[in-house]
């Protein structure tokens, strides 16, 4: 339940919410992190979409911005998020550890996310994962030594009519045949996202 800003432990004490915040500290981890000026400006713009006292609503956006800048969310990045959102580092850690799209370790340049849920599995997704494992020489959850590829299995991406679907960073690659796993990897190496089939990338050419 949402708590009023004026709430306090005792009705005669009129201190605000900030007094209740944990002062627990978080150890440094990862490279030094500071938002770029551009990221901070974007964040302020996003914060303006919510009531002024609800800055915390922008926490996911703030984490995304940090992840875009550094590739993953280190503890130092969490501290920067906490400072920008004006919440505790524990609040940030709580959120980062809940949502699957935040990485707490560095990931590859191309993050392959094979959908493993039923509709994709009925169309060969298990074999897609197996072939990608063989081509890349890594298991799901791992990153290649050259830092080019990470492989994950993810839950339903919401494109089951074009199964099996492989998310590649912010795009979708659709109707991936197991036997074409090498072609997907080679295409990404050679052309980046331009090698993908996501229909959102092509529909206006129809």
């Amino acid at each position: 339940m949402w708590i009023d800003d004026t709430m306090s432990f005792h009705p005669l004490m009129d201190y605000g919410r900030a007094h209740h915040q944990s002062s627990r500290s978080m150890a440094d981890e990862g490279p030094a992190f500071e938002y770029t000026a551009e990221a901070l400006a974007t964040l302020e713009d996003i914060c303006s979409r919510y009531p002024a006292e609800q800055r915390k609503s922008a926490i996911l956006a703030a984490i995304y911005l940090a992840q875009r800048q550094q590739g993953y969310i280190s503890r130092n990045a969490m501290k920067a998020v906490a400072a920008a959102i004006r919440c505790t580092t524990a609040d940030v850690e709580d959120v980062v550890s809940f949502y699957t799209m935040f990485y707490q370790r560095p990931v590859g340049r191309h993050v392959l996310q094979v959908c493993r849920t039923l509709s994709c599995a009925l169309n060969g997704a298990e074999r897609v994962t197996a072939e990608l494992q063989a081509v890349l020489g890594i298991a799901p959850g791992q990153t290649t030594a050259d830092g080019e590829f990470s492989l994950f299995e993810v839950e339903c991406l919401g494109a089951c009519d074009r199964a099996p679907v492989v998310g590649v960073n912010d795009h979708w690659h659709e109707c991936q045949k197991p036997e074409d796993a090498r072609a997907l990897v080679d295409g990404l190496k050679a052309h980046g996202a331009a090698g993908l089939t996501g229909c959102h990338l092509h529909v206006e050419k129809a």
């Binding site: 009531p51 996911l60 849920t117 074999r127 799901p140 839950e155 339903c156 919401g158 009519d161 979708w172």
Partner: protein, 434 residues
């Protein structure tokens, strides 16, 4: 029936503001703003529009419950989380007809007295979000969104809010928590969002497809809408066909259409791939009971599917042919539920993992006969005993497959192996923890 929601999804540039206004776009908003909010609510109530997010609750009634006398701001939250396995209709609407959704949001805001609508979109739909943001900017520049819309004094903003990967964020109170910057874990109800929702303010949470139905209702009237489908199941409906059909895809049809037509008619699914035999159909996203091939001559409506003992849910129709092992299918889905449980209540958090472990053991051929009844016992101890409907959703794939395909479970135990290892599956699987 002429298509109502998706006539131009395949038209190049059919998603743009220019195209939309040439088709008479935003005229429904103009018409609605000339009415009182209560009149708009009454029209939506009279249309019988039922929520397309899963529960089929009447939208007009939901809006009526919003506490209008409260001095606090009101909010519309559009549920664009679309994470139910087998469901992929909302992203089509957002990507190819975004202004219809904006217009629906604006009319909904007028109806409940809100000045802001948040579209909560799942993080994986980034490319869809880019379309929404670009088109929002155009609609804002054209004066359809912002201050003093159409000179009526109505101010309204629409913002897109990006989630970050959590099925549970689709549950309406978990969505609100997530919008407030917290973990997507549901709240105890009551109070319902209509009384205390986003930031403790009166809020209506509506699905994307639900809101997209509002402008055509205002334009054509509630009688027109109701007459499109069977009684109490009016309007156009989007169906998502996936799995072993020849032509998977999103199809719009009135709810007179039968399940069999959706799967076999060349206009829709076109039959089973490879002309194999149909084995089982999950009609409403992965969370609902299975229909067998002889149960398909029912209208694919909320009430039609309910009369067959299942639910229309999100209208994600997952088709499985005779090569599909039902123990494997249940294990696949329980991995999903185990992975996505928000962890707030014990039966779901612990029970889902137990179910998945048991299913894995049976599927690998290491199960015992008593495991089958143990599955039922664990599932029945989740069903109806959790904080949100996720628990029932997780128990259902187990209950329905054991009830309908018990002999397949027994064969796995007896023979000590999967008795139906399809060639489209991997020989062995490595699921790393991540």
């Amino acid at each position: 029936m002429d298509l109502v929601l998706t006539p131009h999804v395949k038209t190049p540039n059919g998603f743009t503001l220019d195209f939309y206004t040439k088709q008479g776009g935003y005229e429904a908003l103009r018409k609605a703003l000339a009415m009182t909010p209560d009149a708009v609510v009454d029209i939506v109530k009279a249309s019988g529009l039922r929520g397309r997010g899963g529960a089929g609750f009447p939208t007009g009634v939901k809006w009526q419950f919003v506490d209008k006398k409260s001095p606090k701001p009101k909010y519309i939250c559009c549920n664009a989380d679309e994470s139910e396995p087998g469901t992929f209709k909302d992203h089509v609407l957002m990507e190819r007809n975004p202004h219809l959704l904006f217009e629906g949001c604006l009319i909904a805001c007028h109806a409940i007295g809100a000045k802001v609508a948040y579209i909560y979109i799942r993080g994986e739909f980034y490319h869809v979000q880019e379309v929404l943001e670009a088109e929002l900017a155009k609609a804002r520049a054209a004066g359809f969104i912002g201050k003093n819309i159409f000179g009526t004094g109505f101010d309204c903003e629409i913002y897109v809010h990006r989630g970050a990967g959590a099925y549970e964020a689709g549950e309406e109170t978990a969505l609100i928590e997530s919008l407030e910057g917290k973990r997507a874990q549901p709240r105890l109800k009551p109070p319902f969002p209509a009384i205390a929702g986003l930031y403790g303010c009166p809020t209506a949470v509506n699905n994307v497809e639900t809101l997209c139905n509002v402008p055509p209702i205002i334009t054509n009237g509630p009688e027109w809408f109701a007459a499109l489908g069977p009684e109490k199941n009016g309007g156009p409906k989007l169906y998502c066909l996936s799995g072993h059909v020849k032509k998977p895809g999103t199809y719009e049809a009135p709810m007179h259409v039968t399940m069999r037509e959706l799967i076999y008619d060349p206009k829709y699914g076109g039959g089973i791939r490879g002309d194999r035999k149909l084995k089982a159909v999950i009609p409403g996203g992965s969370s609902v009971p299975i229909l067998l091939p002889h149960q398909l001559d029912i209208p694919a409506s909320f009430d039609g599917v309910a009369s067959a003992g299942s639910m229309l849910g999100s209208a994600g129709i997952i088709v499985m042919d005779e090569t599909t092992c039902m123990v494997w299918a249940a294990e696949n889905l329980l991995y999903f539920y185990k992975h996505e449980s928000c962890g707030k209540c014990t039966p779901c958090r612990e029970g889902g993992a137990w179910l998945h472990n048991l299913l894995g053991r049976i599927e690998r051929g290491e199960g015992h006969m008593k495991d089958i009844d143990l599955l039922l016992s664990v599932a029945n101890n989740i069903m109806g005993k959790t904080l949100c409907a996720f628990g029932d959703a997780a128990a259902t794939p187990v209950l329905t497959t054991v009830q309908l395909f018990r002999e397949e479970y027994e064969a796995h135990v007896r023979e000590g192996r999967c008795t139906l290892p399809a060639d489209w599956r991997a020989a062995s699987r490595t699921l790393a923890a991540h």
